[in-house]
C-alpha cells in the first residue's frame, strides 16, 4: 500500500460540520477511548520492535554482508523509477489537462488498475512475457515499478494541476510570445513543483519498500535482503525493518511539511497524505476553485 497526495479545500468545508456537530453531540469519553485503543495498538509494535532489536543492533545493520549492495540496488532502482515516472507522467498529465480533458475519467480508471491487479500476479505475468535482455537486468524491476507508482504519481500530479489555472497561464504565456518549450519549462513546471515533489517522494517510498516483485524476480533489494537475513539474526532484521520504516516516514512527512508550507505561501490548496480512493480524491481535489 502506498499513499497519494490529494489536494484539499482548506478549512471552509469541514469546519462548520465540526463545530455544529460537536456542540450538540459530544461524547468525549467514547471518543478518547477509541483513540486511546488505536494509539496503543499502533504504538506497541513499534516499542516491541525497538526492545526486541536492542539499540546495539542498529549500528550492526550497516556492517552486515550484503547490506551495502542491497541498499545500493534499491536506491538505484528508486532513482531510475522516479526519472522514468516523471518523464512519462508529467507530459501526459499536462497534455490531458490541456488537450483531452474529456478523458480525465478514463485516465483515473486506467491509473487505478495497478492498485487493483495483485502485484504477485503482475510480476508473474511480466516474467512470463519479458524478453531475455530485460530478464537479465534488475532494471526490469524499475520498468514495472513505474506501473506500480502510476496511481500515486498520476493523482498527485493531477491534483497539482487542478490547484492552478493551467489553461489561462498557458494561453497567457503563448500570447506573450513564448513557444511551447519555454511555456512548459518556465510556466507549467515551476507551478507543479510541489506536485512533482510528492510524486517523487511517493515513488521513492514505494520502491524502497517493495518486496513482492523483487523477490519473485530474484533480485536482492533491501526488503528482500532483510527477509533473507532473518535466518542469521532476528535482532538485526528487526533493526533494519525499523530503519527502513523511519526513512519512509521521514520521506512521507516531508511531503506533508512541504505541502503545507507551499499552501501557506500560495494561500491555496493544501497537500495532504491521501490514499487510493479515486472518487474521493477527485472530489476533494476538485473543490478549491
Amino acid at each position: 500500500m502506498a499513499a497519494v497526495a490529494g489536494v484539499e479545500a482548506g478549512a471552509q468545508a469541514p469546519a462548520p460540520a465540526t463545530t455544529s456537530a460537536a456542540r450538540r453531540h459530544s461524547f468525549p469519553v467514547w471518543r478518547w477511548a477509541i483513540l486511546l485503543i488505536a494509539a496503543v495498538y499502533f504504538l506497541i509494535p513499534l516499542y516491541s520492535g525497538l526492545r526486541f532489536a536492542g539499540l546495539k543492533a542498529f549500528p550492526d545493520v550497516f556492517k552486515q554482508a550484503g547490506f551495502i549492495s542491497a541498499i545500493g540496488l534499491s536506491l538505484r532502482l528508486a532513482a531510475v523509477t522516479t526519472i522514468l515516472t516523471l518523464v512519462l507522467m508529467v507530459p501526459t498529465v499536462v497534455y490531458v489537462h490541456l488537450r483531452l480533458p474529456q478523458i480525465r475519467r478514463l485516465m483515473e480508471a486506467i491509473t487505478i488498475l495497478p492498485i487493483v491487479i495483485p502485484p504477485i500476479v503482475l510480476i508473474v505475468g511480466v516474467l512470463k512475457v519479458a524478453p531475455g535482455f530485460l530478464l537479465s537486468t534488475p532494471y526490469l524491476l524499475a520498468l514495472v515499478y513505474v506501473i506500480l507508482a502510476m496511481p500515486f504519481a498520476y493523482r498527485s500530479l493531477d491534483a497539482g494541476l487542478r490547484a492552478f489555472d493551467l489553461k489561462t497561464m498557458v494561453e497567457a504565456s503563448n500570447s506573450l510570445g513564448a513557444g511551447w518549450p519555454t511555456t512548459l519549462w518556465r510556466v507549467v513546471l515551476p507551478n507543479m513543483r510541489t506536485a512533482m515533489l510528492s510524486a517523487t517522494v511517493l515513488t521513492v517510498a514505494l520502491v524502497l519498500g517493495e518486496f513482492t516483485m523483487a523477490s519473485l524476480a530474484l533480485w536482492q533489494t533491501f526488503p528482500v535482503w532483510i527477509v533473507n537475513f532473518e535466518q542469521s539474526s532476528g535482532a538485526v532484521s528487526t533493526a533494519a525493518s525499523l530503519l527502513s520504516l523511519f526513512v519512509t516516514w521521514l520521506l512521507l512527512m516531508l511531503i506533508v511539511a512541504v505541502g503545507s508550507w507551499s499552501a501557506r505561501k500560495r494561500g491555496g490548496a493544501q497537500v495532504t497524505l491521501f490514499t487510493v480512493a479515486p472518487r474521493e480524491s477527485s472530489q476533494t481535489a476538485g473543490e478549491p476553485e
Binding site: R31, F42, I44, I117, P118, K128, L143, L216, P223
Partner: protein, 308 residues
Amino acid sequence: MTGSAAQAVAPEALTSGARPSGVSTSLRRSLRWLGVVPFGVYVALGLIVPTIAIAIGAFQNTDTGAWTLDNIKLATGGDYLPGLRNSVLLSIASAVVPGIFGLLIAYAIHTAKRGKLLRQIVVTASGVFANFGGVPLAFLFIATLSTTGVVTGWITDLTHFKIWNHGFTLYDPLGIFVVYMYFQIPLMVLVILPALEGLRPAWREAAHNMGARTWQYWRYVGGPVLFPAFLGCVLLLFGSAFSAYATAEALDNTIALTPIQIGALENGNVLAGQEHTGYALGLFMVVIIAVVMIIYTILQRRAARWLR
C-alpha cells in the same frame, strides 16, 4: 523522449491558425491522441499484456503449450482450494473489522471539538501507517507477538496464560489478520473521512428541527447516505488485503494463502513444471478482484449521488 516531443509538437499544430478543411479536421482529431500514445503503450506493455499472458497461460500446458483445462483442475484441487478460501475469508475479516474500527476513528476525529489539530495528527499518522505494509510490519509483529515477543511476555507475566499454548499463533490466518489490521485501519480512516465530511450539517439540523432523535437521524438520513460509501471503502480494503503478499510471506512462506502459493509455484519451490498452475491461481485472483472492483465502482457512483 519521444513522449514529450510529441506533446510539445502536437498542441502547436492544433493551435496554429488555418481554418481546418474536412479532411484535416479528422486528421487533427486523431493527431490529438498522439500525446497520450507513450502513456498508452507503456500501460499496454507493462500492465495489460502481462495480465492477458497470465489468463492465456492458465489454459495452456506448461511444456507443450497445448490448450488444456488441467491447470484449472490442479488449481482447484489439493491445497489450492483451501488456500483460496483462506484468502477470501482473511480478506473479508480484514475488510469488515478494520472497516468498522476505521469508521469509528474517523467519526471520532470528525466530531471532535477542537478538531483541527487532532484531525491533522490522525490523518497524517494514518497516511504514514497505511503505507506501512510489507516486510518491516511482519518483523515488528514477530517482535510483538511471537513466542518470544514482548507482548506475549507481558500477557504471560500478568495472567500466567501462555497464549501460544492455547491455540494462538502469528502464523495462521487469524494471526495474519491481527497484523493486517495495522495498515487496514488507517487506510479506512483515509478513505471514509471524505465521505463523513460530505454529510451536510444542514441535513442533521433539518432532521432535528423536524423532531428526529439522533438514532432516527442515523437510521433514516445519515446511515442510508453513508452506507454505499462505507461499503465501497470496505471493498477497497478487501482488495488491499487480498492482494497483499509481502507481510504474509515474511511471516510464514508456507501458509495456505493464494498469493503465497503462487509465489511458491513460480519460485520453483514446489515442483518443476507447475508454473501454469500458478497462472491459473493468478487468473482466479484477477477475476475475484475484478468482480469486487465492479461492485465498488457501482457503489461509488451511488455514494457520489449524495456525497458531493
